[in-house]
């Protein structure tokens, strides 16, 4: 079950758009980070169940942050939310182990669908423990 969600995006507007599109009735705790490095730091500190990750960010981009988070926890679930939907960008983040990619601006239905898939993945991971 998802308890904690971490949103990593340099744009406060993008974070707000995502936050408001995440269902409010599930009781998720939502945390935010403003760049990839902050995202890694908060991931270590909070151990969220799922991370929404932007790609184009200052300080540390989403590619590097995704790679690092997956290095810290090989089962970490990272959903990339990006405007950069070039085939090569998508292929790169999927190679890094991203769970899925949502095109910005992500629609509420896509977010719900992705979170449902995360629930299933978490369930499987717990069963296999």
């Amino acid at each position: 079950m998802i308890n904690k969600i971490l949103i990593v995006d340099d744009s406060p507007v993008a974070r707000r758009m995502l936050r408001t599109s995440i269902p409010k009735d599930k009781g998720f705790e939502i945390f935010e980070a403003g760049n990839g490095q902050e995202g890694i730091d908060k991931f270590k500190e909070l151990k969220p169940d799922v991370v929404f990750m932007d790609l184009t960010m200052p300080v540390l981009d989403g590619y590097q942050a995704t790679a690092k988070i997956r290095e810290i926890d090989k089962n970490a679930i990272v959903i990339v939310t990006t405007a950069d939907i070039q085939p090569k960008s998508i292929a790169s983040v999927m190679e890094l182990g991203a769970f899925t990619l949502l095109k910005k601006p992500a629609k509420a239905e896509s977010i719900v669908e992705a979170l449902n898939k995360v629930e299933m993945k978490l369930k499987k991971l717990r069963e296999n423990k």
């Binding site: 340099d10 744009s11 507007v13 085939p87």
Partner: protein, 214 residues
């Protein structure tokens, strides 16, 4: 300039515009990747409000190269009105054309080559500017019409020719995105300039955009 920015747009409005530009340019590069095998490395866009009087100096320092640049300009009209400028350093036109053409063109005359290079610049400009402005318009629930793109191969030490459409007493909103064509290692940037007339509409459109996420 900072005070001017605060007067025209709040920080939040600038953030919204910046995110919209980010989404729009991301879509534009994906459109380009649909047509040609190129990977475009993106950067975080910026939004500035600049007095028209200061715009030539801004453009001069932003478009700083060895004195020449390839500038593709496309004007657009509607509630959202202005110009898109795609800027590449001078001397990159052959590499840019090679992005679009995979044939060996060494057997043609210099005149034919220049025409092809200009065609390549126009095509890349048309895709990136058109797709970017189009996406901004779509997100802000309006539509624009475009002029055909044109290549401005001017002396970039004199950018006054770029600001003729602006009233000197007014301000311009400048949205800027830097990018890199990775395989060719060509840096460039896209500027979207919109004038004072669009500001009232733009502010309302930005509010409506965010309200849809409340």
């Amino acid at each position: 300039m900072a005070n001017e920015t605060v007067e025209i747009f709040s920080d939040e409005e600038k953030d919204i515009l910046q995110e919209i530009m980010n989404i729009a340019f991301g879509n534009a590069t994906a459109d380009l990747a649909d047509v040609v095998d190129i990977y475009v490395k993106l950067s975080v866009p910026s939004v500035q409000v600049i007095e028209i009087g200061a715009l030539p100096e801004y453009l001069r320092t932003t478009i700083k190269t060895d004195g020449t640049s390839n500038i593709i300009e496309q004007k657009f009209w509607g509630n959202f009105k202005g110009s898109g400028l795609l800027v590449f350093p001078g001397g990159t036109e052959r590499d840019l054309m090679a992005i679009l053409e995979d044939q060996d063109r060494e057997d043609i005359s210099n005149i034919q080559m220049a025409a092809l290079e200009k065609g390549g610049l126009l095509e890349i400009g048309n895709i990136l500017i058109g797709a970017c402005v189009g996406k901004v318009s779509e997100l802000l629930d309006t539509f624009v019409t475009y002029s055909p793109p044109q290549v401005l191969q001017g002396d970039t030490n004199n950018c006054n020719f770029l600001i003729e459409q602006f009233d000197p007493s007014q301000t311009a909103i400048v949205m800027k995105t830097l990018f890199n064509f990775k395989e060719k290692d060509i840096n460039g940037f896209l500027l979207i300039l919109t004038n004072h007339e669009s500001i009232g509409w733009l502010r309302k459109a930005l509010k409506n955009f965010m309200d849809s996420y409340e």
